[in-house]
């Protein structure tokens, strides 16, 4: 009979179901899917960042967590302000003390009244283009680090933001002529700035900065060579790291940008400190020095006192030139 057959099948089914239920161990009912799952603290401990896959087009947003921003924050808010403050205020203090004790380095043999070309118009143009860019880059850069604690409380949020916005534009745009300037400086003055034996003697005699010594030097003395290499290497570093920050994600991810900002800012504040010394010695620090970059011509006596070997070279090239100091009276003519 068909109904009996159905009954048998039902009984078998019930038995089989009962068998399955009783055979299943009780522990397997309590499944723990997290046993094998990824753990936040473990991932952070292993890589200090958590990265995964995203289905939106912005693949960079696949970085879920990067807590090293904390170390960068500490650097940006504390370490950098100390480095910059000590370097810049320290340099200013040293120069003020130096000026008050040593005073201006005078032209000891007075002015001869005769001049010699030291820097051509092109050299001066490159120098001042780079220098004017540098001043604006330095001020707008220092504003990012020191503006919030120092300037913002004085001028208020709106004015400070407005100024900082323009400073940022200036900082971004002037980086290009500045970079061009650094490259040109590197190329046009490299020949005179390779270290040689004269520099060793110059440094041993302290460059004649203290006292009335005038160690011989070619076109650039060891101090100027140092400035040259600070500009070339420091300028190269700030330019490279600056472009990395200006074009986010073209060169590196977020840790690369944090590192770039650290290099950029540390090199920059040390650069500023070095340039303050450069400006000092080129203006109020030494008589007759500014003319080199001003009119481009320096007094023969200045050249003899500070760059005797260079003057000899030039004299050899342009014809006989008396090596005695020129009489001071010549200047009065």
């Amino acid at each position: 009979m068909a109904s009996f057959g159905r009954l048998i099948r039902l009984a078998f089914g019930a038995c089989a179901l009962l068998l399955v239920i009783t055979a299943t161990p009780a522990s397997a009912q309590q499944v723990n899917p997290t046993a094998s799952s990824v753990k936040e603290q473990q991932l952070l401990h292993e890589l200090n960042r958590i990265q995964g896959r995203v289905s939106i087009p912005d693949q960079r947003s696949g970085v879920l967590e990067q807590p090293q921003g904390r170390e960068w924050r500490e650097f940006r808010n504390v370490t950098l302000r100390w480095i910059g403050g000590v370097a810049i205020i320290g340099m200013l203090a040293v120069l003020v003390i130096f000026y008050l004790t040593r005073g201006m380095v005078r032209l000891e043999s007075g002015r001869s009244g005769r001049t010699i070309v030291r820097f051509t118009l092109f050299e001066r143009f490159v120098h001042w283009m780079t220098a004017s860019c540098f001043v604006i880059l330095a001020i707008s850069g220092l504003n990012i680090t020191f503006g919030r604690p120092l300037l913002l409380p004085l001028i208020g949020f709106e004015a400070f933001s407005e100024w900082s916005q323009w400073a940022k534009y200036a900082h971004n745009y002037l980086s290009f002529p500045f970079t061009v300037g650094v490259v040109l400086i590197f190329l046009m003055w490299i020949a005179g700035n390779l270290p040689n034996k004269v520099d060793v003697a110059w440094i041993k005699r302290g460059g004649g900065i203290v006292g009335h010594d005038h160690p011989p030097a070619y076109r650039f003395n060891a101090g100027q060579k140092m400035i040259y290499w600070i500009v070339v290497i420091g300028g190269g570093l700030v330019a490279a790291t600056g472009y990395e920050l200006m074009f986010p994600f073209y060169i590196s991810g977020i840790e690369g940008m944090q590192m770039a900002q650290i290099i950029h800012s540390v090199v920059a504040v040390l650069f500023v400190a070095a340039m303050i010394a450069h400006v000092y010695i080129g203006t109020i620090g030494m008589e007759g020095a500014f003319e080199a970059m001003g009119s481009g011509e320096v007094d023969l006596n200045w050249a003899r006192e500070h760059h005797s070997l260079w003057l000899d070279e030039q004299s050899g090239r342009t014809g006989p030139n008396d090596q005695k100091p020129q009489p001071v009276t010549a200047a009065a003519e």
Binding site: N32, S36, S37, G52, R73, R76
Partner: protein
Amino acid sequence: MARMKFLCDADRCIECNACVTACKNEHEVPWGINRRRVVTINDGKPGERSISMACMHCTDAPCAAVCPVNCFYTTADGVVLHSKDLCIGCGYCFYACPFGAPQYPKVGNFGSRGKMDKCTYCAGGPEADGSKEEYEKYGANRLAEGKLPLCAEMCSTKSLLAGDGEIIAQIYKERVMKRGYGSGAWGWKTAYRETIES
């Protein structure tokens, strides 16, 4: 006052990306910017988890600490907001943020950074609540209307929780107790220096 937080229950998130879509639509977020995204870790492998992440509105927020123009502020509800009028688009908050929350529209010089945009916890900005200016700059202000962030409100599995930190932590704890497992409150230790013991 409440201390507003986000909590993503990774054991519930199914990576449907509805939170991402809802956020973009609610605030008319510009093209190329995502205030919220879903990240899948160990995709396709055993133990894979998806986490919906946006600005976590950190305690002692790093973005606010490093901002050169001090454009961030924390509301009485613990929501970290910023002023786009003051922002100069320098990118510093982005370097400091542990969660990649700040985003920049490509409108500035050389197509780089415009004014920063990030999750507002659906709480707008410094402009008058619900004003046109506020909506254009920051999107909807649901919090002022007594509503919670839309991403969490419409989450289909109720994986993403938003609300007072203590309440959502309690909800999460109860869930963990009931089901017997939980992979933790992702990002809480980094953002709030605390975690939910389960």
